[in-house]
Symmetry: C2
Subunit: 329 residues, 2 copies
């Protein structure tokens, strides 16, 4: 069913039908009604591809996520999709993988689609490779970054103050009289190095400054969280706290501790970051730094929509994280 088929049945031209479909003025009420009936009768739906071609807008938004399986990213993707589809956009969700090449590749693939805007989820897109690829492939469409920012003219970013957030987490453990704290990060992205700075600041001001060296690496996975916790227990049997950069490794860390007969939180405090649903499933429930997933989703979709509407929202928005205390502190 095209606009021409309807036009023929109504005995009018395609232009007239188009004007009815788009609620444009200048159509005689009776004609309009007649066409509207035909539209309904034949179940006409406009061909968005054809529309996209002439309007130079596809009403599609690309969403880049390294791996949608991580609960926190997925939550953000969910709410962003909800907001954008409420505004009439359809989301192309692309899992980019974690390497630079796979991310750039995903950007190239998206570039063929005439997307109206782009939204990235997660701090891992803050890198030169991505910046270059975005500058080349998407020089003019609005780009919003949830939990990230890149200095490009068309990029707006929403960030969380994780520096202070992590610092507060460490201070919380110190107040519980747990001073010997290890810091575990999945990699050394800018976001995680920022958290690390918060950790270092707090340990420097605390009673066990030697912990500034207790920095460990463990990928975002249950296996790695378990492994690194065992390693920490071996290397520092006197450890009193674990500060993870995300929840997945953290919940597994809790398990490694209880498996080893270490009492949580009495002997060792554990804190994660992201405040995913894993925290509630963990036993004891995991205390975590909530980096405002919902606000992040809302703000990033909002600034994207604003940019799409021709407004110019602030380039960077800063959110403040907060600690959700549960049973591991």
């Amino acid at each position: 069913m095209t606009i021409y088929d309807i036009a023929k049945k109504a005995g009018v031209s395609a232009s007239t039908v188009s004007r009815v479909v788009n609620n444009k003025p200048g159509i005689k009420p009776e004609t309009r009604q007649k066409i509207e009936e035909l539209l309904k009768e034949y179940g006409y739906t406009p061909n968005e591809t054809a529309r996209g071609l002439v309007n130079r807008s596809s009403k599609m938004i690309g969403i880049l996520i390294t791996d949608i399986r991580y609960a926190h990213y997925m939550d953000i993707a969910f709410f962003v999709e909800q907001e954008l589809s409420r505004a009439g956009y359809t989301c192309l969700i692309v899992n980019t993988g974690t390497t630079d090449e796979s991310k750039v590749d995903a950007i190239h693939r998206l570039a063929q689609r005439q997307i109206d805007g782009l939204l990235t989820v997660g701090s891992t897109f803050q890198c030169d490779a991505v910046k270059e690829a975005l500058a080349k492939s998407f020089p003019d469409i609005p780009i919003a970054m949830a939990n990230g920012y890149l200095p490009l003219p068309n990029v707006k970013g929403v960030l969380v103050d994780e520096y202070n957030g992590v610092m507060e987490c460490v201070k919380l453990m110190q107040e519980n009289n747990h001073h010997k704290i290890a810091f575990i990060r999945p990699n050394s992205t800018p976001a995680n190095l920022n958290k690390q700075k918060g950790f270092l600041q707090a340990t420097r001001e605390g009673k066990a400054p030697e912990c500034a060296d207790w920095i460990y690496q463990a990928a975002t996975s249950l296996e790695e969280g378990y492994r690194v916790t065992q390693q920490i227990l071996r290397e520092h049997p006197d450890v009193e706290g674990l500060m993870f950069c995300e929840d997945e490794a953290a919940v597994s860390g809790v398990r490694a501790l209880t498996d080893a007969g270490v009492k949580v939180p009495q002997q060792v405090n554990v804190i994660g970051v992201d405040n995913t649903r894993y925290c509630e499933i963990c036993n004891p429930k995991l205390t975590a730094l909530d980096n405002m997933m919902l606000e992040m989703s809302m703000e990033s979709s909002r600034i994207l929509l604003e940019s799409l509407n021709g407004n110019n929202p602030p380039a960077r928005i800063m959110l403040f994280s907060r600690i959700i205390q549960r049973e591991t502190t």
Copy 2:
């Protein structure tokens, strides 16, 4: 950069450039090379919208999921997206919500996009409302259902034998000498009623046939899993096993039991379905019926791709679930 811009720079016609871009034969090697260089130099990427219009194919696949936040759906979505994008398709992931209207609405929204195929994730799409909407909006494109099936000519489905799966689960508990078992389902979709039949069959053959009435309802959430478990403990303090239809409520059920001082698995066995990562986070780790998420993803994307390639894969594929024993049995 359009094909015309390149044509002008090369001093040829757009048709020639198009043929080079699409690797069609009948172009003089030197001409081809010259155009290819220009293509690279100006970073030309074909406009898929325009292509889609003339080819009547968008290289896009719609993916319907009730709620991507549930780990099991999301895992399937992840692998399906991976497979389809490997084959050159882009995925439009749409969260449909759980009500009939919201699902139908999502289908209508997708119908405007010229998608080449459709894939649904989860058994909740097996209902008349969806069937009707699909028949109307997508009468000719291939549709694949991961964990579902609808009797429409263009629908192919991958199913899991959960009837026998759940029956085996119940039998496992019975072998552990736990006979008084409650069954908890989030709703009464065909898939869950099928599981229920497996439960009933096993209880009927077991030593506590009175449990055939111990059927409870709890939505897929931590809160509901906790609530229903407390309710079961109240109404049947002698309960010896909990058979959940999915993992999320199940892990929370485990927590409700341990919080109430009930020993798991000594006093009460618990089994979930889906074998999501929640199982490993749960403490004690949750035994679950693995309904073959990876195979499900692979098979459903495979049959979709086959249909897209003009082959005619079998309408229904049956997978066999298996029990992953962990610490709650």
